[in-house]
Symmetry: D2
């Protein structure tokens, strides 16, 4: 049993961490912090957690926090994480940070897309926590930068192709669609039911979404060259789920059969990747509530393009589930511990 | 490890049984029957089950079925169940029947609402499987009549009041709202997305819904007198969930405080009943995917009425989850085995 | 052509007024006020209005407003209306107030449910603007108190029965379900997509919703006695629509046939009431976007109760459409002018 | 007043035609055919149409039909249209065909994607009815092939760019998302509420959707060269609306400003095209129920691509509304007659 804390427990990501950890056999939740809700039971904020989560939110100082837990999930906005994480590490604690603050290796890129970084020295130390690509490095690290939701869906979809040199990295276009929980629980007009329901829209079009540099960093690493992608996020009238439809130009010598083999081999041992067969396409409803990433592809021979589709639950594999998967790796637990939820359909 | 079979696996109830059983530590699924999909993996019909459920649907004869399993979940339409269940019992197998065929004690009532009954002798033998009311009788039986979804939500909400004589049984009005999964997976116009989405409607109004006699049978038993209720079902544009809002006239001597105590005491030891406090009201989204039944009440002193509200997931506590709960009781497993899913919110 | 102004144009009710008025042949919109959006085109706040509504929001003083228009729709919160409306009336302008401030006749009741009233003298002057009940009084008045959405659905459903003495007024229970637009466009957690979507819940249960006194005032008037109702509002995961399911005990001598005649006769000439036949029940999706109120009933002979169901679009017949209907009556326009929208289905 | 008939009135497209025509000042609906519902009022099939549409469905022979109307909307499946339309034309009637049967110029292409064509001689005679591209030809024709919903959204989005030679026609990728009404009202499992709700999925990926040749035919015509596109349709959990996100490589000399001018000029006089400004992006909810097509674009200078986004209501501008627009042109009515509905939001 390890002691863990959730910093920032009152958002959807924090609540999802509490939900998952409550059924994890080797973990005890010893703190769930919230400024707004200090003194309130987390299950009073989220009645769904009743009888499963008994912790009461509070807001202790850093010293007390470090005494209470050895592993911290920081589910706070960027900038807040940047200031908090170094203190936790300095006290010898391990951190899985769900913000964007430690995902980018190049501080200049971070500062171009976000703001001045107060702990640039940690960027080299942090491990970008996509287990399917960095399992061994995660195992030994103290600071995991938990990937963004869109990047998770796109990188997992393209990794086998880029590693094998099967596509032109400069041709990548990612058309992604996300459920509204990705916008968080902040009360803002654009997230109101009446604004989102029964509708669909793109947003932050044309290389303006902050997940762009994260996607490009990882795809560049995989392809061994500087990659710029066209990435278009859209807002779906669903709570959970991201589906990315990704287009790229095939290189000569690759066809439907060879690509199928690439995916099958690459992900054969992965517990959370489901490479779908020919007759099934991914759908967000088939991964709902689970840590699975479903992947399928089609080759369009007329245009020489491959279309790769991936689906995840954005607050599980795209956030809290992946964070727990990273914890499992860091602490030597079975990688699926606490993550055995079968998707809820319908 | 006991061997179990799902008869009628390709509907939503069957798939939900497979989902729950796949994570049950003491159960092995050895048959999942389907006429339409014989030869197809259940996870190809429901891709959500991929990597969790490996069984292939088939359609063996009764003898082979009885060799494969000792417990049968019959998730088939009424009438089909009536013909099948006696054969399974005759072979010494145990049955949890999710149809309506064995829920009513009085064959005349059954035949008035349904059709001629081919096995009336089993009606006395079957136990109406609401664990919170009949746990001991379920423990020793061979045939559980798994309750309907609406009745579960209404009976659990009213039992403490009727047992204590706190309300006038003749004053009961149950206004219930159900998600669309209650209509099953049959392709019919009224269940199409475009007919249901962004809308809301009542149906089978005025004592015409077939759950009426089941509700009345159990409420009569609880109140010790013949009860007729006004029950109005409505169709919600959600997949899972039933919320019942129930009105009754309080008897003298009962107020908010005494009623609160009735609920607290009655359900103090129940693992799946969450009696909510004053500030929280039930919502279907707070029980989504779980076996919980959330209950709250308000007293309207001006009119002398109590309003009781209950929420369940209609295909978990209202069907497949309750069936597994009944199995756990019948076989002496921990009652929550396989049913520890924390509700998925958002 | 009359000149009209919308005070408080940036909420859903204000936008809906602009949508309706833009197609009204006898009306010119000369002001749309908003503090937050002064200087912004209304069609930039609501891109749906592009090419149809050209007005730019501003926030002029009362004198300028009175020069710009002769009829004002005040779509502002209660309390704000109370202070503004007397000034408009004093300047000889006509007002249709969509707030609650002038709906209650008894200032003591208003102050019990809301707050101190600054213009109690206007309460007697205001006409409760339900055209089907008060057409003649609306015709000659200067101040219409536009009814609340829930009250509209309930009062129209019960009026024929109460006028005929067909039900016991003390037995009325109204179980109402509303779309989320009823909560307005304010950014609050409870109205977020993820909180509402795929879920259903009651709220303000037990005589605590502020529409209660309004409902009771009008039902008392219709029945000639003081009526207290049990009214339970619920939140539907839809944008538009209210469906009320109303229960009452029939008085001797009334049956399905006589009640059918009551409805048919009472509403024979009403352009916006559709009394449904035996085989059709109301559904919110069948009135979406229109000014219709659909009504059906069923008699439950076993319990002696009648169940009446009504459906409206809460921001049309429940707010802005009814306001325009009132305007048409006040100014002698055809009552359906601007309101001929056929419901949008699917 | 012209007399019109809807052949195939019981689907969503037929009902939408009836809705629109009921408010058209110059049209009388004299027939609404349905095999399944002959003898039933259309407003009994679609209660939304009550008090607006009084016609009773029937199923007369071709001779009687030709006596009843001079203009026919054929809202029947492909193949059925192919056999019916020649008979109507032979009787001197005008036809607007909403099926796919007369959209493709090359019979070989039609037969490759559909089936043998029984009236290939009519393909040259039919006018592809996209008013913004073919207004003059529509004016004088007898047979309009009403465009498909996806093609409408894609062709209108790209026409200004292709006409100006601003993009490489071989680089076009169209990622389109459609509401479920596009699947029609047939009772099939894949269109059930529980299969679609709270989910999102691609379908017919990789040049397999039958709208592909239609899109390519029109884009080839616009670009003066044979164009093959990658077109990926997706299913949205909404009733109405298509949003297409389209990617293409810009040719040298074109930037954000020049492209903005192209769109502004090209669509300056179009009543139903709304070219959005820099700060607004299209959303299906902003065109709901209307005949508008909203278009916006963004240039991604880093990759040299332009992203064009368009939104329509698939059963209005993507089907029935466009059909009425074509009728207005054919008969010299104001082009917006009957089509002035302002989008319903929220």
């Amino acid at each position: 049993m390890i002691k863990t804390a959730i910093i920032g427990a009152s958002g959807y990501t924090g609540a999802e961490l509490a939900r998952i950890l409550s059924r994890h056999p080797q973990v005890e939740l010893t703190a769930a912090t919230s400024r707004q809700y200090a003194g309130t039971a987390l299950a009073d904020i989220f009645p769904s957690l009743g009888k499963a989560v008994t912790i009461i939110c509070d807001n202790p100082g850093i010293d007390e926090l470090c005494q209470r837990a050895e592993l911290f999930f920081t589910a706070v906005p960027h900038k807040t994480a940047m200031d908090l994480v170094p203190q936790l590490l300095a006290a010898g604690r391990k951190v899985i940070d769900l913000s964007a603050d430690f995902r980018l290796r190049d501080v200049a890129v971070y500062e171009q897309w976000y703001e001045p970084h107060s702990s640039p020295q940690l960027l080299a130390k942090a491990v970008y926590g996509l287990p399917e690509l960095a399992r061994e490095r995660i195992r030994g690290c103290d600071l995991v930068a938990n990937p963004g939701c869109y990047p998770t869906s796109i990188i997992l979809a393209l990794a086998p192709l880029l590693e094998a040199g099967a596509i032109d990295p400069l041709s990548i276009i990612a058309d992604s669609k996300s459920g509204t929980s990705g916008a968080g629980r902040a009360a803002q007009t654009g997230s109101l039911f009446c604004e989102v329901h029964d509708g669909f829209r793109p947003y932050k079009v044309g290389r303006t979404h902050r997940h762009t540099p994260e996607i490009e960093q990882e795809l560049s690493k995989l392809s061994g060259m500087a990659v710029q992608v066209t990435f278009t996020p859209h807002l779906l009238p669903i709570s959970r789920g991201i589906l990315s439809t990704i287009y790229a130009t095939l290189k000569p010598g690759f066809d439907s059969q060879t690509i199928n083999e690439l995916y099958r081999k690459r992900y054969a041992e992965e517990p959370f990747i489901r490479v779908l067969g020919d007759r099934t396409l991914p759908a967000t409803q088939y991964v709902r509530g689970s840590n699975f990433c479903d992947i399928a592809f089609k080759v369009d021979t007329a245009t020489g393009r491959v279309i790769v589709m991936s689906a995840i639950d954005n607050i599980v594999k795209g956030a809290s589930g992946q964070a727990v998967q990273n914890m499992n790796i860091m602490f030597g637990f079975p990688e699926t511990a606490g993550l055995s939820t079968v998707p809820l359909f319908p």
